[in-house]
C-alpha cells in the first residue's frame, strides 16, 4: 500500500511544480479523464486486494479509459449530447462501488 501512496505524492508534487494549466474549454475533458483514471486506480486496488490483478489489463485500462472518456465527451459535445454528465455518473458510481469493496477487504484484515 505504501508504494502507490508514494507514487501519488510524487505525482502531485510534479503537478504542482510543473506550471501547466488546461485551457478552460478543455477543462471538461480533463475532468472526465481524471475521473476515469481515478476509477481505474480504484479498480486496480480492488483487483489487487482480490488477487485478480493483471498488469497489462490495468495499465492499458488506465490509459484507454481516460482517453476514451475524454474522446467520447468530445464527440458528444460535437453531436450536442451531453455525455459529460453520463460519464460523471457512470464513473462516479463505479468509484463508489469499488471503494465499498475495498473497504470490506480493508476491514477483513
Amino acid at each position: 500500500m505504501a508504494l502507490p501512496l508514494v507514487g501519488l505524492i510524487i505525482g502531485i508534487s510534479l503537478g504542482i511544480f510543473f506550471p501547466l494549466t488546461i485551457p478552460v474549454e478543455y477543462a471538461k475533458f480533463m475532468s472526465v479523464a481524471l475521473l476515469a483514471s481515478l476509477d481505474s486506480v480504484f479498480g486496480g486496488l480492488r483487483a489487487g486486494a482480490e488477487e485478480k490483478f493483471d498488469n497489462t489489463v490495468f495499465i492499458t485500462g488506465f490509459f484507454t479509459n481516460a482517453l476514451m472518456a475524454a474522446g467520447l465527451v468530445y464527440i458528444g459535445e460535437g453531436l450536442g449530447i451531453d455525455l459529460y454528465y453520463v460519464a460523471l455518473l457512470a464513473f462516479g458510481l463505479r468509484i463508489f462501488q469499488n471503494l465499498a469493496i475495498i473497504r470490506r477487504y480493508f476491514l477483513r484484515k
Partner: protein, 230 residues
Amino acid sequence: MLKLRQGQAAIALVCVVLGFMLAVQFRTAQDIRSSIPFQRIEDLSQRLSQTEKERDVLLKQVYELRQTTGAESATKESENIKMGAGVVAVRGTGLSITIDDSKRLSKPGENPNLYLIHDEDMLKVINELWAAGAEAISINGQRLIATSEVRCAGPTLSVNNTRYSPPYEILVIGEPQTLENSLKMRGGVIETLQFWGIQVSLKKQDVVDVPAYKGAFRFEYAKPIKDGGK
C-alpha cells in the same frame, strides 16, 4: 492495512500519473474560479442599468429642488443668469427642427457614412442657429449649455453625456424668420445636408418650450477669482 499482493509497482506508476492530473486539474479549477465568469458580466451590466436609473431619479430631484429655491430669489438679474446658464426652462417663439438619416441607399462603392448624420452636421446647424441669435437650444430634450458636447458615440449622438439615436429634434428659441433664413440660405447648411438625402424639416412655432438643463454642475479645476470679471 490493506495488503496488496500484486501489482504494487504498476499501481504506483499509475498513481504518479494520477497525482499529476489531480494537481493540474486542481489548478485549472482554481483558474476558472478566479477568472470572471459570464454570469458576473451580466450581473455587472444589470447593476449598471440600475445605477443609471437611480442617477436619473436623483437628477430629477436636483432639478426639482433647484426650481423651488429659484422661486424665492426671483430677481431680474439672477433670472437672466439662470436663463443664460440654462437651468430654467424657457418659452418663446422659435423653430422646431427635425433631422433624420438619409432614406437613400448608398450606391455600391460609396461610403454609407455620407448618408448618416454626424456630429459635425449637428454642430454646423447649431452654430448657424447661435449665429442667427438663438437664445436657447435643446436637442432631444437636452438643453445646450456652455459645457454641452455634441459628439458621435458610435451610431448615436451624445449630448450632455446622454446618447440619442436619430431622428434628432432641435428646439430653438429666437426670431423665427431669422433662424429659418439662416439655415435655408443658398449654399447653407440645409442645402448641403439635403444633397446627401438627410431629411431636415423646419417648423416655425409661436410657442417653443425649451427644457432646463437637468444635470449637475461640477467644477473640479476651475475656481472663481475674487475680484475678477469686473
